[in-house]
Amino acid sequence: MRFRLLLLALILPISLSAQVKEATDSPSMLFRGRLATRYLSGFNGTPYWDTLSFQKGTVYYNACLYENVEVRVDACEDKLNVRQDKSFASIAPDPRQVAWFTRGSELFVNMEYLGVRSPARFMLLVSDSDTPVFKLVQKKSRSVPGNHNGVTYLGYEDPKYDEKVITYYEIATSFWTLDRGFLMRLKPRKARKLMASAVQNGAFSKSLPAWHPVEGTGAELVAPSVKRSGTKVKESLPVGYFEVQADAGTLTETIDAKYKNKVYRIGIAGAATSAKIEGLITDDEVVALSGVLIVDSGTGTYTRSDKNGRYHLTLPVGETMLTFNDPDKEEQKLSVILCGDGVLNVQLHDRSTLLDAASISAESMRQHRTSDIGIASINSRLISKIPTAFGEGDVLKVVLALPGVQTVGEASAGFNVRGGSTDQNLILFNGNTIYYPTHFFGINSVFSPDMTDGVELHKGGGPASVGGRVSSVLDVGVREGSSKGFRGSLGLGLLTSRLNLEGPLGHKTTINTGFRTSYSDWLLGLVPTSSEFSGGSANFYDGTIVITRKPDKNTTLQAFGYLSSDGFSFGADTTFRYGNANASLHWTKESGSWTAKTSIGLDHYSNEMEEEQDASEAYTLQTSVDQIFARLNLKHPLSASHTMTAGAELLYYKLDGGHRRPLGEESMVIPKDLPTETALQPSLYFSDSWNPDPSYSVDAGLRLSSFTQGESFYAYPELRLSGRYSFTPVLSVKAGLNSTAQYIHLISNSSSISPVNTWKLSDAKIRPTIGYQASTGVYWTILGGKLDLSAETYYKHVRDHLDYAYSAILVMNENLADDLVRVAGRSYGVELMARKSVGQLNGWVSYTWSRSFLRDTQNTGLMAINGGRWYNSPSDKPHDFKFIGNYAFTKRYSLSLNIDYSTGRPVTFPVGYYIYANGARLAYSLRNAYRIPDYFRMDVAFNIDPGHYLKALAHASFTVGCYNVTGRKNAYSVFYDTTDGSSLKAYKLSIFATPVPYINLNVIF
C-alpha cells in the first residue's frame, strides 16, 4: 500500500506537469481539470439572466403600463431590454424608471425604484408569501474577446466549450427577503425552505404601483388612453414607438422627439458628409429651456441651448446618440440617424426623483466652452437644499456659500465680493434693481425661492450689457407660470409662510404669483412684559407677479412686479420701516438670426425712521431712491464663430436726501428737507463672442457709460475682455480684464448696512468710483465629469471709493461730502474649489485666501485715516473655507451639511481708557487694526422629498434641521462697559449663540 502511494506521488506530478505543458500548447487544453464544474455552473457565454432569448412580458415604465412586449434581462449591466417583436431592434429603457416587469409568468421588481437599498436593481420575486423571497442573478465578464485564457485560473475540460464564444461570465446567484423595508440575504437552505410554499400575487405584488396580473396575450397596439385615476391603464406602446422613422421628406419638417428610446432619422440623405441639426428644447409646459447641454456621443461635440431654447450642431452624417442634459430635467438620450439638415425639437420632462443632483454638470461644461470667468450659477433646486436659519430656503444664503463671497456677520443685509463693499454689488431681480435685498435683519432675502429661476453671480463686474457697480452683478431670474394647468405650493416655517400660485390665462398667457408674510409680530406680542423684547415688533411681507404672453413662437411679452414692506422696532422709542417696489415690461422678439429685447421699468426704495425717545425732539426721517430704466439688447450671430451683442441703457435717478418732520404734538422739531438729487446715466455697449474652435474663444466688449447730475458730467469707457484656451475638453485656462464705473454710493459707517442708510449720487465733490480687475483661472474636470476643480486668482484696484471721516455725521447732512473721505482700495486673492455634481454625494468645498485694503488719498498727516497708510478694509477676511454637501440616501431622503469658516472681520478696538467729562472714555486703536474672533458655523438638515407617485393631488416635503449645530458663539461685535465702576469689561454680541432647530413643511399641489 505504501508503495502504491509512493508511486502515485511520483507519477501524479509528472502527469500534471505534462498537462500543464499541454495547456501552453493548446488553448482548449486549459479548460480542463478541477475547475471544470465551476465553469459549467458558473460561466456561460451570455450576460443575460438565464437566456439570451426574448420572452413576452409587461413593463411598468414611467407610470405607464406597456403590455405585450418582449423583454430580456441583462444580469451583467442590470438592465432591461425591450422590443416590440423580433422585427424590431431592442432598446434599454432607463432602468430608473422601470418599477417592475414580467417575463412570462415571472415578476421582476426594481428595488432601487422602491427605495430599498440593494446590491442590484432587478430581482425576481420567487415567492410572494408573508416573507417574500427574491432571487438575484449577477454576472461579471471574466474574459476578453479573442483571449480565451484571459483569466489564468480557468482550466478544466468542458464538452460544451466553444472556441467561438469570446466572452465568458461568472455567475453569482443569491436569495433575499424583505424585512421591514430592508433586504436580508438568505442562506440557500433557508431560501429553499421558504420557496417550498411559494405564493404568487401576494401582498408584495399588490403593493407595486398599478399592479395587476398579466391578463391574456396578443393584444394589438392601440392608441394611448388616459384615465384620470392617477395612472394610465393598459396603454400599449404608442404607434411608431419603436419604429425607425422613415425619411422626413423635406428639410424643414420638424420632428418632435417625444419618445425617449425612439430612433430618429433627420433630413434627407445626400452627398454631404456632414449636416446641421437644430431645434427647440422645451419643458413639459412648452416653455423654452436655456442652458441645456447637448452632447454628441460620436464626436464629443457639444453645445448649449440659448436663452430662447434653441440649439444647433453640425455633425457627420450617420448614426449617433445625442444626450440632452439639464439639471432639473430627466436626461434624454436620443438615437439619431443624421442624413441631412433637419430640425429635432426635444421636450425634457421633470425629474420624477431628486436623486441625481447633476445641478451643475452643465455648469462645468460651460467652464470649458465659454470665456466666462468669475461666474457662478445656482439652480433653484440647490436653494432649498442648503440649510439656513429657521429653514427658509434663501437665494442670498446660497450666494454666500460661493468662494469669494463674504459677509460682515450674521444679521447683515449685504455681502462682499472679492473684498468690495456692499454697495458695489448690483442686485437685479428680473432686470429690476433691488437696493436693500433682505428682510428681518438679513435672515430672509427679498427673493422668494418659489419665484426664482436661476441665479447668476458675476464676480468680475459682469458682461458689457450690465454696469454701474464695481464688484459684482447678482442676476436673479424669475420663473414663468405653468401653461399646463393651475398649480401651487404652500410653505410653512417658524417665522414665515409663503404661497405660490401659477397657471395659464388663456391659450398663450401664463401667470405666476408668490406671496410671503411673517408672523413674528404677533409672537412678539405674546412675549411676557418682563422680557426685554416685550413691546417690540418685527414683520415683513412681499409679493411677486409675473405675467407672460407669447403671441407667437418668436415673441414674448412679460410684465413683472414686486412689492415688499418691512418694519421693526425693539423698544418703544425707535421704529424702522422700509420697502421695495419694482415693476417692468419686457418684450423679446426673434426675427431670423436677430434677437432683440426691450425693457422698461421703475424701481423704488424708501425707508423711514421714527425717533420718540424725547417727546419734545421726536421726529420722523424719510429717504427714498427712485430709478427709471430703459434697455435695448440686441444679439446676432455675425458668422459661425462670431456672435455680437449690442445695446443701450438709460437710467434716470431721483434720490431724496432726507425729510425730517416733527412727530407728535409736543415735538418742537423744525421740518428740514435735503435737496432732491436727479441724474441721468446713459450707456452704450458692444461685445463680440468669438468661438472659432472648440479649444479657444475670446469675448471682447466695451461699455461706454456716462453720468450727468446738474453741472457735473462724467464718462468712462469700461472694458470687458476675457479669453479661454482648452488644452483638452476638460482642461482649460482663462484670463480676464475689466473696468467698471459706479455713480451711486451707499453712505454708511456701521458694520452692517442699515435700512435707513442713505444713497448718494456722484456730483462735483463726490467722484464716481472706478474699479479695475484682472483675473486668471484654471479649470479641470476629472473622474469622467464627476468632479470639477478650479483655481481662480484676481487682483482689483479701486479709486475714489468712499470711507467716512472721524466724527462723521451722515444723516441729514447737507454737506455730506465734507464728512466723507476718498480712499483707494486694492484686493487680491486665490479661490480654490472642488465641486461634485453627480452621484449620491454632491456639493462643493472651497477655500479662498484673500486680502483687501484701503488708503486715504484725500488727507495727509494726522488727519488722514491711519496716517495715510494702507489699512484693512471692513471686508478683509484672509481665510475663508466653505463646505456644501448633500447626500441622498434614497430618492426621497437626503442629508444636507453646511460648514462655514472665516477669519474674523477687522474692527477698531479700544486699547485703553481715560477720564473725560466725568466718565471713563475709551481710547481706540488705528482703524480696523484688530479682528473679532474667527467665525465658524455648521448647519445640518434632513430633507424628506415628495413620494414617487407623481400623479397624486398634492405632495408634501419636510425639512428638519439645525442652524449652528455646534452652538458656537460667533462674535458679531465687541463693546465695553463698566461693571463694578472701577474697571472696564469687554463683551461680545453674538446673534445666534445657540443651536437653532427648525422644521419646515412645503406642500405642492
Binding site: S807, Y914, A993
Partner: protein, 393 residues
C-alpha cells in the same frame, strides 16, 4: 401650540446673547488727555490725565493723572493768562472777545520724562447764547427741568453746566427734649435760654447746600430746531428729594455755544464709549481733537479745547414745602438697650449721659423715646451751611 411657538421664538431671540470677552490687544497708554474750555468772562479750569490700560483702577489717581501739568491761555493780541498756582484754574473774567485764543499746556507724563508742550488751535470766541426760560413739569413723582437756548451762532450746538443751591432741614428738625447734664434727666425743652450752650443743635435745623456740575458731566446738544434748543430736558429731580422739601431751590445755568467740530468730537467720544455693540451703531475710532504736540505735528493729545463766552442765568424753582421729613425707623437706635446690656447696674440717668457722650440725643417718639444721632438734628453735618452763600440773589 401658542406657548410652544412663543418658546421657539424666544429661543431665537435669546439665542442672541452677550458674553464676556477678553480681546487680545496691545495696551496703549501714555497718550495725554487734556480737558477744559477757554471760557471768557469766568474762571476756566483745565486738567490733564493720560490713557491707561484697562486693568487700571478708576480711582487710583497715580495711574491716571500725569506727573506734572501747567496751563496758560494765550491771546492772539499778545496777552497771556496764566494758571492760578497749580490748580488748573485760569481767570478769564477780564478777557475780551475781540481776539483769538488758544490753550497751551506743558505736560510731563511721568517723573524723569521731558515735558511736552501741547497747544490747541487758534479760535475766535463763540458768542454767548441767550438762556431762555426753564420749563418745569412734574409727573409720577419726578420733576423734569428743560432748558431753552438760542444764539446767532449758526452751529446750533451748545454745552452747559449748572450749579444748585437749596435750603434743606435736618431730618428730625429741632429737638424738643433736652438732657440735664448734671442729673442726666430728660426734660422738655421749653425755654431756649435755659439750654446749655453746647446743646444748641436746634439752631441748625435749616441749612443751605450748594452743588456744582461744572467739573462733572459735560452736557451737549445739537438743536434740531435750527440754532435754537427748545425745551431740552437736562435734569430730573424726584419730588421727594431734600432739594425740593423746603421750597427754595435755586439753579444757575452756565451755557456756551460751541462750534460744530467740538460738538462732533464730544459726541463721538460719548458714542464711542456708550453706544456700541448694536447692529447699526457707528463703527468707533480714534478721535483726534484740536490739541497738537507743538514739536511733533503727528502727535496729539486727546481732547478738544473750544473758545467761548459764557452766559449765566439764575432760576428759582419754588415748590411748596413738604414739612418735616420724618422716618424715625431710619435713625432710631437701641443705644439704651445696648448700654443696659453692657452696664446693667447703671442707673437710667447715667445711661442718658452715656448716650449723650456717644453723640445721641433724646427724641420723643410716642409712646417712648428714641435716641438719634446728631446729624438728624444738625444739618451742618450733611455738608450744608446755616447762612445762605453769597452770589445767589
Amino acid at each position: 401650540m401658542k406657548k410652544s411657538l412663543v418658546i421657539l421664538f424666544v429661543l431665537m431671540l435669546v439665542s442672541s446673547c452677550i458674553y464676556p470677552y477678553t480681546p487680545d490687544v496691545s495696551d496703549e497708554y501714555g497718550r495725554v488727555v487734556i480737558e477744559g474750555d477757554i471760557s471768557l468772562g469766568t474762571v476756566s479750569h483745565f486738567s490733564a490725565n493720560q490713557v491707561v490700560p484697562f486693568d487700571a483702577n478708576f480711582y487710583t489717581a497715580s495711574s491716571i493723572g500725569v506727573y506734572k501739568a501747567s496751563f496758560k491761555v494765550e491771546a492772539e493780541n499778545g496777552l497771556v493768562y496764566n494758571e492760578i498756582g497749580t490748580s488748573g484754574d485760569i481767570d478769564l473774567t477780564a478777557a475780551g472777545a475781540d481776539t483769538r485764543y488758544r490753550m497751551v499746556a506743558e505736560i510731563t507724563r511721568a517723573e524723569g520724562e521731558d515735558a511736552v508742550v501741547f497747544a490747541s488751535d487758534w479760535q475766535e470766541p463763540a458768542p454767548a447764547p441767550e438762556i431762555g426760560r426753564l420749563v418745569e413739569s412734574a409727573q409720577d413723582g419726578i420733576l423734569s427741568l428743560a432748558l431753552n437756548l438760542s444764539s446767532d451762532y449758526e452751529s446750533g450746538c451748545y454745552r452747559w453746566e449748572y450749579e444748585e443751591l437749596y435750603h434743606y432741614r435736618s431730618p428730625m428738625g429741632s429737638p424738643t427734649l433736652e438732657l440735664d447734664l448734671e442729673t442726666g434727666a430728660i426734660k422738655d425743652h421749653t425755654d431756649a435760654s435755659d439750654i446749655n450752650e453746647v446743646l444748641d443743635w436746634w439752631k441748625y435745623e435749616w441749612c443751605w447746600m450748594e452743588t456744582s456740575s461744572r467739573r462733572s458731566a459735560v452736557a451737549i446738544a445739537k438743536s434740531l430746531q435750527g440754532s435754537t434748543l427748545k425745551n431740552h430736558e437736562f435734569l430730573t429731580i424726584p419730588t421727594s428729594s431734600d432739594k425740593l422739601a423746603a421750597g427754595e431751590y435755586y439753579l444757575r445755568l452756565i451755557a456756551r455755544s460751541i462750534p460744530e467740530a467740538q460738538y462732533r468730537y464730544l459726541n463721538a467720544v460719548n458714542e464711542g464709549s456708550e453706544k456700541m455693540g448694536s447692529l447699526f451703531s457707528p463703527v468707533p475710532g480714534e478721535q483726534i481733537g484740536n490739541i497738537r504736540n507743538v514739536a511733533d505735528p503727528d502727535d496729539y493729545a486727546i481732547g478738544y479745547v473750544g473758545v467761548n463766552r459764557v452766559a449765566k442765568k439764575l432760576f428759582h424753582i419754588y415748590t411748596p414745602g413738604r414739612g418735616r421729613f420724618f422716618n424715625p425707623d431710619n435713625y432710631a437706635t437701641d443705644i439704651l438697650v445696648t448700654l443696659r446690656e453692657a452696664y446693667p447696674e447703671m442707673p437710667g440717668n447715667l445711661l442718658n449721659l452715656e448716650a449723650y457722650k456717644w453723640g445721641y440725643y433724646p427724641y420723643v417718639y410716642d409712646p417712648g423715646l428714641l435716641w438719634l444721632p446728631t446729624f438728624c438734628y444738625d444739618c451742618r453735618l450733611s455738608g450744608g451751611t446755616p447762612e445762605k452763600p453769597k452770589g445767589w440773589d
